[in-house]
């Protein structure tokens, strides 16, 4: 190459220089335009990111009301509502992608309690302690509810909106038609399956039992489905709080997958392809239950929200037709029923240009009246003592009393930052079992391998 180099003339060099300059200018221009994503929005606008999907429209309605009152009380401020129409995992993904860039990061975020720790560690959320210290209402929130919004560093990142419990919903009319006793009182998993089998033989056109399962439902499958089973087995848990280790090789895990197999491969559930439809939760609440196409549904306390006059599928007769009963433990072990609790919070984005106003918005949305109207509309279990004891709240929904009674036997998901990744692996195991691709034993083994890959062998313990 050197020989050609030595013959380069001035003209060549001039050409080279022009070329180099042109290239530099062009590269700079391209890079500059590509990276000019500095700060969108201004401090007079607060952006609210939240989920609005299927039958879940109550939060949208609530935030629209708060926006009106907030803008009236703060002249010059604009509240920009950004509903994200996506299901479970997709909502988290879209949210995370928004949060990654300062120009798109929202000021107020509707945040699931199980994501708080991971997202706080990701630097997406702002610690709220300096605001809650001065907020008179903060003392009204129950301590265990406050705990759900705390990050691994002990700071508060989310203000709880409400909590939930889970149980079996059943259609009393269908039960009577199938000759089953009402009120239904299953004591073991087998009782649940045998009722489902009776319905299958007596009412072949009805789906006997729905248990959420598989990847499309994301965390909904893990919590409403799998954990409602696992935490009802003897000492069943995913995570040992005392030793801070994850459980592998547990027969409880295999048994819980076995139940999923019995439901889907045993023909008493929806067909696997119905269950693997992203919209199944919308279909269950909006169509199958109101139209009497589903007899038993393992679902959340919020389910009735869609049937209220304010919901997307008003069904005035729901409280007469639908019964609720606790999900029994595997063989009827004490305390007899199992439930899981989660809930959602409102959080402030870490890069918010106006975090003071963002918190004011949250305080406005979750003051006593705000919390109460939202908890009633979305059928949430209240987390403020003044709301929970208010007769207007307690009498507004006949199922509140039952679901609140489950709180004493409820369980919470492992509060670690890697839980959401582990939850994904549980949905993978469920899907493999429900489609018959793996036996419960194989799927449990694959889960153990994936779990060890996520947390490391030193953080697992075999039981």
């Amino acid at each position: 190459m050197s020989s050609t180099g030595t013959t380069t003339s001035r003209r060549g060099r001039r050409a080279a220089r022009i070329l180099a300059i042109a290239a530099t200018v062009m590269t700079t221009a391209l890079v500059a335009t590509g990276c000019s994503a500095g700060g969108g929005g201004d401090s007079n606008t607060i952006k609210i990111a939240y989920q609005k999907f299927g039958t879940f429209t109550q939060l949208d309605a609530h935030l629209k009301e708060v926006k009106k009152s907030f803008e009236k009380a703060n002249p010059g401020m604009t509240v920009q509502l950004e509903p994200i129409a996506a299901q479970n995992d997709d909502y988290y993904t879209k949210l995370a992608l928004m949060e990654r860039a300062p120009s798109t990061a929202p000021d107020v975020i509707y945040e699931d309690t199980f994501k708080v720790k991971a997202d706080a560690e990701a630097g997406y959320l702002l610690p709220l302690d300096k605001y809650t210290a001065k907020w008179a209402d903060w003392s009204k929130f129950y301590d265990n509810a406050k705990e759900a919004g705390v990050g691994t560093d002990g700071k508060t990142y989310g203000i709880p909106m409400g909590t939930d419990t889970r149980a079996l919903w059943y259609n009393k009319d269908l039960f009577k038609k199938a000759g089953l006793t009402v009120p239904w009182e299953p004591k073991t998993w087998d009782d649940v399956l045998s009722a489902a089998k009776t319905i299958k033989s007596k009412l072949p056109d009805v789906v006997p039992l729905n248990v959420y399962s598989g990847k499309p439902q994301g965390e909904g499958s893990t919590m409403q489905g799998f954990e409602m089973l696992l935490y009802g087995t003897p000492n069943g848990t995913l995570y040992d709080d005392a030793s801070k280790k994850w459980i592998t090789g547990s027969s409880n895990f295999t048994d819980s997958l076995g139940f999923i197999k019995d439901v889907y491969q045993g023909g008493v559930g929806p067909t696997p392809e119905q269950a693997l439809d992203t919209n199944i939760s919308t279909v269950v609440g909006g169509e199958w239950l109101p139209k009497g196409k589903l007899a038993i549904d393992l679902d959340g306390s919020w389910l009735s929200g869609t049937w209220l006059s304010t919901g997307t599928n008003p069904w005035p007769e729901w409280s007469k037709v639908m019964g609720q009963v606790g999900m029994p433990t595997q063989n009827g072990e004490a305390p007899g029923v199992n439930s899981m609790s989660g809930g959602w919070t409102l959080a402030v984005g870490a890069t918010s240009k106006n975090s003071d106003k963002a918190f004011d918005f949250i305080a406005d949305a979750l003051d006593k009246d705000g919390s109460m109207s939202y908890d009633i509309a979305a059928s949430q279990i209240a987390v403020r003592s003044d709301v929970a004891t208010d007769p207007d709240y307690a009498d507004s929904n006949p199922s509140f009393k039952f679901f609140s009674s489950l709180v004493k036997d409820t369980h919470f998901r492992p509060a670690t930052t890697d839980y959401s990744q582990i939850s994904n692996q549980i949905t993978v195991a469920m899907e493999a079992v429900m489609t018959g691709q793996q036996t419960p034993e194989e799927a449990a083994k694959a889960y153990d391998t994936a779990l060890t890959g996520i947390v490391g062998a030193d953080k697992t313990v075999s039981k």
């Binding site: 003339s9 060549g12 050409a15 080279a16 560690e121 990701a122 499309p216 696997p272 890959g453």
Partner: protein, 325 residues
């Protein structure tokens, strides 16, 4: 760019070793001299520079950044979202130990061979040959139907395919008229459904390429072969295929690369399921990166896809030698 020498030159001296150079630079180059040739080369490269810069920026850039990303633990949530760290080949080790990965490779290859290499190419060539001898009415009718699938945006084509194969879809409705109870295609035979859908969607492209190519087969060669007693099949093997070899190579490469990256069609029709029964590499990469938030791991899968694409391209170029006539 290498022709622009890093060696600095004296203002008016020609350092020793200047190959074939005669006279000092101040005299200017003479046409035909090596220097003039070099200048001409530089001059001719200049118009290419913008495109080279753009290619480097928009093609090489993403490749490099994807490769680097696959060596980190980048994530959408958790501590790694704030500050990802370099973890070497851990993602690849994890990937090769995962039971989903070999299955996904096999599914991708099956999808590739069945729908692109065999389906689209053979069907496309067959249609092109048949249409050459068909009457114009039939030709335009068939052409319209085949090209219609190609004209549809991918998402629309995917929904159309979903509506066709779905349990209560068109296919089963039509089968029911004849008293046949159709299977639940998307659930029981997910790969067959997506392969057929991709053939339906992609055949038009191959057909158009081959229709143009077979026009180029000189009729006199075909005729003399006919005189020598070569039948239709022999004419296809010994005359048509060798002549359109280059089109075959180009078309195979394009359809392979296109099919390798098919995402929307499969995602809409089966979502990669049931389980992982139709999770080809793009679906698996999406699932890991965006459903399970592990960007680094998902990127590792994408990098593997890149390698597979590169291997196929090299094989086609070598095997079919498009440059030799």
């Amino acid at each position: 760019m290498a022709t622009i020498a890093p060696t600095p030159l004296g203002k008016d001296t020609d350092p020793a070793g200047g190959r074939g150079s005669s006279g000092t630079p101040s005299q200017g180059p003479r046409p035909g001299s090596a220097r003039a040739r070099n200048i001409r080369t530089v001059g001719r490269t200049i118009p290419l520079v913008p495109s080279m810069v753009l290619l480097a920026l928009f093609l090489l850039g993403p490749i490099v950044s994807s490769f680097y990303g696959s060596l980190t633990n980048a994530s959408l949530t958790g501590a790694a979202a704030q500050k990802s760290s370099f973890i070497g080949l851990d993602n690849y080790v994890k990937l090769f130990n995962s039971p989903d990965f070999p299955k996904s490779i096999v599914l991708t290859l099956v999808f590739l061979f069945a729908s692109a290499v065999i389906g689209q190419n053979v069907l496309g060539l067959g249609l092109a040959l048949l249409m050459r001898s068909a009457n114009p009415g039939v030709r335009s009718l068939v052409g319209t139907f085949v090209v219609a699938a190609w004209v549809l945006p991918e998402i629309v084509a995917a929904f159309a395919a979903y509506a066709f194969f779905n349990q209560t879809g068109t296919l089963n409705t039509v089968l029911a008229w004849f008293g046949i109870e159709g299977a639940n295609w998307l659930y029981t035979f997910p790969m067959i459904a997506v392969i057929l859908a991709n053939i339906w969607r992609g055949t038009a492209f191959s057909m158009l390429v081959y229709a143009a190519a077979v026009q180029e087969v000189p009729p006199e060669i075909t005729e003399s072969a006919e005189v020598d007693g070569a039948g239709g099949f022999k004419r296809l093997i010994y005359i048509t295929l060798p002549v359109i070899r280059r089109s075959i190579s180009t078309n195979l490469m394009l359809t392979t690369l296109q099919t390798l990256s098919v995402f929307t069609l499969i995602f809409v029709m089966t979502g990669g399921g049931p389980g992982t029964n139709s999770s080809t590499l793009p679906i698996l990469a999406y699932q890991e990166a965006f459903k399970f938030s592990q960007l680094g791991f998902g990127t590792a899968i994408a990098t593997i896809m890149l390698l597979i694409g590169a291997i196929f391209s090299i094989v086609y170029i070598r095997a079919l030698k498009p440059e030799v006539d």
